[in-house]
Amino acid sequence: MNCQKFESLAAELARGEMMEVDVLVDARAHEAECANCSSRLRDEEMLSRGLHALAIEMNSLQPSAFVEERLLATFRQPSIVVPITPTRNYRPYWLTAVAAILLIVVGLVAMVWRGSDKPKVDFAVNQPTPEQPNEIKTPKNAAVPERDKSVASLPPQTKPKRHLNSRELQARNSRTIRPESAVTNHASNEVATDFMPLGYLNPASLQDGGQIVRVEVPRTTMASFGFPVNMDRYNERVKADVLLGVDGVPHAIRFVQDKRSQ
């Protein structure tokens, strides 16, 4: 231990503070060797004794009783300390309840309003497929044929689950993200190009799913993707499917054409 380190510990040694045994032994060894540090420690100890003596001397000092009397007189004044009454304040609960009701009403109105004004967008994913024809809607009160009555009375049976083989699983998993390559759309009367990325396509952003939105774009848009454009029909619009991520950002586009128009 050097003198600088000892000086930083001298006050703690003099105050009798707890320290590690190794440090204490080193400090005592240095004190025995160095006269200056030994003198410094004696000074610190004398200061500690002086401060301790001062503290003891002052322990007996008290303020005059007049201070307590003045304080008690003040305490007895009713306006100084207002006793806390255990009345419950219901106002916050009322406010919370009213706010909750208002929120629910506004939410319902907004839902109804949005439902009535929703523009009808032709989503490709909602298009019926030939394999899944539209259900024939029957009136609720329509009579059920006799043959079907027995069936209708039976409890609905769940379709037994079929175990998929690995190829089917792979195909099903890749269906959601991987763009289909120049295949016919699920509406078999259309043909489509490959999905072309719009900017940098990060597959990770589509892990949580996505949405395909059918839009119409100017035919000249096709030229920007390298497709030939018939300039006689440049002012016409063509259908396209835009692949949106869950964040609403378009990631890819493909152009769609009806088979009839080919």
């Binding site: 004398m46 001062l54 201070v67 307590e68 003040t74």
Partner: protein, 223 residues
């Protein structure tokens, strides 16, 4: 006779309640005090006013100021005791913090400069220096007086650390809580303050040593 019995019963009940209150914590006493319980206030005052008074006295060196600060601190507690937050520290630390603010405010507001050279405003400890005693007692009284003057001559930031850590014997943590600073800051300030105190006390100690050696020499001459 009946009135005397009623009075005795009331006194006994009051004493019993006081005994029960003695075991309560400061925070509970404060809560009851804020609910209007005078006994809780009295008990809290008796428990905490000596240290608050001594703190103000050691910081200022003035008995009058110390009494005023003690009064103001407990008056503040009556009026604004609800601002005490148990999660931020103890009632004791809270009171020390309020007392510190009042002392510093008095220093700033009254432009009160503690004068030590003339020693005019030294009522609290006059009895120590003037008390007739043997040589050791006189030396001790002089030493205490010198230490007191040296403490009062420190800058405020160092003085309050010395008063709290050395004279009030609070821990570094409690002192840091009161001053609103880090424990490391308290340690470094205390280290610096002790260095300043040693520098102030060294000449007086050398003078005392020379005086005592002169007394010994004269004694030898007489011998």
């Amino acid at each position: 006779m009946t009135a005397g019995r009623i009075t005795m019963t009331a006194v006994l009940k009051s004493e019993q309640r006081m005994k029960a209150n003695i075991e309560l914590s400061d925070a509970e006493l404060l809560r009851r005090m804020m609910a209007g319980d005078e006994e809780s206030f009295t008990l809290l005052y008796k428990r905490r006013h000596p240290s608050i008074y001594r703190f103000a006295l050691q910081m200022s060196g003035s008995q009058q100021l110390a009494e005023d600060v003690t009064h103001d601190v407990f008056l503040f507690l009556m009026k604004d005791g609800r601002v005490f937050d148990p999660s931020r520290g103890s009632v004791s630390s809270f009171l020390f913090g309020v007392a510190r603010n009042y002392v510093l405010r008095r220093f700033r507001g009254d432009q009160m400069a503690v004068q030590f050279a003339d020693g005019e405003d030294d009522e609290p400890f006059d009895h120590m220096a003037n008390e007739p005693s043997p040589l050791e007692d006189l030396t001790k009284a002089e030493m205490i007086e010198n230490v007191r003057r040296a403490v009062l001559s420190l800058p405020e930031r160092y003085r309050e650390v010395v008063v709290l850590c050395e004279l009030q014997e609070l821990s570094y943590g409690e002192t840091a809580e009161i001053l609103g600073c880090a424990i490391g800051t308290v340690r470094s300030r205390l280290h610096r303050a002790r260095g300043l105190l040693l520098a102030k006390l060294r000449p007086s100690r050398e003078q005392a040593e020379s005086v005592s050696s002169a007394v010994v020499e004269s004694a030898r001459c007489f011998a």
